[in-house]
Amino acid sequence: MSVKRSLSKTYSGDLTSKSFISKLRKEPNQLRKKMLLLGYVTSQLEKKKQSIFLVGGQAVETYTAGQFLTGDIDVTTSDSAMTQKVLKSLGFEEIGMIWLNKPLGIAFHIVGHFAPERPRTIRIGPYKARIVGVEELILDRLSAAKFWNIQADYERAKVLYDNFEKQIDKDYLRKIAKKKVDDLLLRITETPSPKLGR
């Protein structure tokens, strides 16, 4: 049985938050666990016509399959009060600006209320989660590298660019970069990519 089919079966039906969490605790893969959780939160919010998007460090971790680890799950949402309510129902507690679920070892950080311009969808079992597009993520990291002088964010941008080069809308990337980070974009596009193979 494929993982996908098995996940759909495991999480099928309209699960209560309690039964969802008890199933989720058995998931051994940390990234899959986070995506399932995000998918469940997304499904609960979409029932109320609201949205939530994965951004920041967790988005980088997802696109790099865990090579750049992060701490909390940064999200933006159209309704933070409703998102907090869903998180509370899943056993999350508010600690300062972070929502933490101690047994799961997962923390959410609602960073804002804006929607990414070009989000992508992640299908995970029966759920769908939304993630910021690679282009916007690259630009965000380049901004951090340039204006906050964080070298690690330049590396993240470079790895993302190299691994998604064929899928990236380069015109869009150049257009947005022109405002602020065109110099760094030129650097990551002109530095040779490693031979990746398939």
Partner: protein, 138 residues
């Protein structure tokens, strides 16, 4: 007692206000100025709360901070908050798991290229990309 936000020019500022009944109508009375929204969005700093406490009695700062946190921020405000919080972020990042085992050492030649290849392989093992760009987690 609650928080009111006023936009002046391109910036938003927060005030502590209360509803006062006057001739059958409820009016807002400004009790204290809290500061630019971006400066207090992560919680009213101690120096401001002390200043306000000296003028206004019985302020429930937990409630006020919760009210402030519920105010939607726009992208520029969020960027400014991030910049303000940068020193704290940098300290936190220095201790983050991503640096475990590497510390602040510069990468050796080929390390980033290897990491790129591992990330690509890991992503392809974990996700399938559909024609419309949707990612399907395996």
């Amino acid at each position: 007692m609650y928080v009111r936000v006023k936009k002046i020019g391109s910036k938003r500022y927060a005030y502590l206000v209360e509803g006062v009944s006057k001739k059958g109508k409820v009016r807002q009375k400004t009790l204290a100025y809290l500061g630019p929204l971006v400066k207090i969005a992560t919680g009213v700093p101690d120096e401001i709360s002390r200043r306000v406490d000296s003028k206004v009695r019985n302020v429930d700062w937990n409630k006020i901070n919760m009210d402030i946190r519920r105010i939607p921020l726009d992208f520029d405000e969020l960027q400014e908050i991030k910049r303000n919080m940068l020193p704290r972020v940098l300290i936190r990042r220095q201790n983050r798991s991503q640096d475990i085992g590497r510390g602040n050492r510069p990468r050796v030649e080929g390390e980033l290229a290897a990491l790129t290849i591992i990330a690509r392989r890991g992503f392809n093992e974990m996700f399938r990309t559909l024609k419309d760009g949707t990612l399907v987690m395996r």
